[in-house]
Homo-oligomer: 147 residues x 2
Amino acid sequence: MQSRIERICADKGLKMTDQRRIIAQVLSESADHPDVDKVYQRAAALDSRISIATVYRTVRLFEEANILEKHDFGDGRARYEETTSDHHDHLINIKTGEVIEFYNSDIEVLKEKIAKELGYDLVDHRLELYAMPSAADDPADDEDVSS
Amino acid sequence: MQSRIERICADKGLKMTDQRRIIAQVLSESADHPDVDKVYQRAAALDSRISIATVYRTVRLFEEANILEKHDFGDGRARYEETTSDHHDHLINIKTGEVIEFYNSDIEVLKEKIAKELGYDLVDHRLELYAMPSAADDPADDEDVSS
DNA sequence: TTATGTGCAAAGAGTTTGCCAGCTA
DNA sequence: TAGCTGGCAAACTCTTTGCACATAA
């Protein structure tokens, strides 16, 4: 069965190799925001004939084809997620590293407005909130709070 | 004459060497958001007995002492600015690379509110707007619009 | 068949660090 | 003087790339 991303690749006329298919599958199935090494590990688990160079080349290809979005959450390596039609921002749980997506329309409006006021047209933006679980909500600290 | 940063170092009891003094001076006088290499070049112009390793060590020292803030504007290298009491965000002119600081209280309020609603306490955040000069406002393109 | 993709290892960019000489306090 | 600091070059991490071979279309 084709993964979502594989289907998009086909639509865009990208040549599909086994490696790309595996990487597409891994990315389609990843709900988190994996870095290249994580993608590589997941891909290698499915098919060991994949090198990390290919993962780098493929995520770049997918990024350029607008299939993936590249993020940088400040830990020095790129992280990827599948491009979605709905825009969202990220809240990073600094205790667990978990990334939570959120959308807030007031923020969206404000971003545009601020750029305009400064005499600019907004092209892209990045809002990341780095936060700790609220003490009140999280008496038992370390569990995995998922979005 | 002591630079602003040198004074802070003295207050914090940091051992002051000629190199640190020069780097402190360069940073105090930098109104932009220089990367390490730029700091190094400016420092070396004042005193050639400075190595880039020292610049790296010193900016880290200053960062840990809360004298500098480290930013990452997505170009793969760290950029620094003196810590100020007033929080601000950044708009990056993608045409010139220039960084414009701005503050918007509505945004600040919203950030807190969003984190709270998700069950988190905001620790840090990052808002960057990547934008082009508005065509209408900017017939002559490249001048220096400072905040 | 032919343009393109892949693996491997080497190269790059940015940053950190071990070691010893040098300097601050 | 004691111990922290700086210069140099080597090392590290993440990412890109040259080359020869393999493969999709």
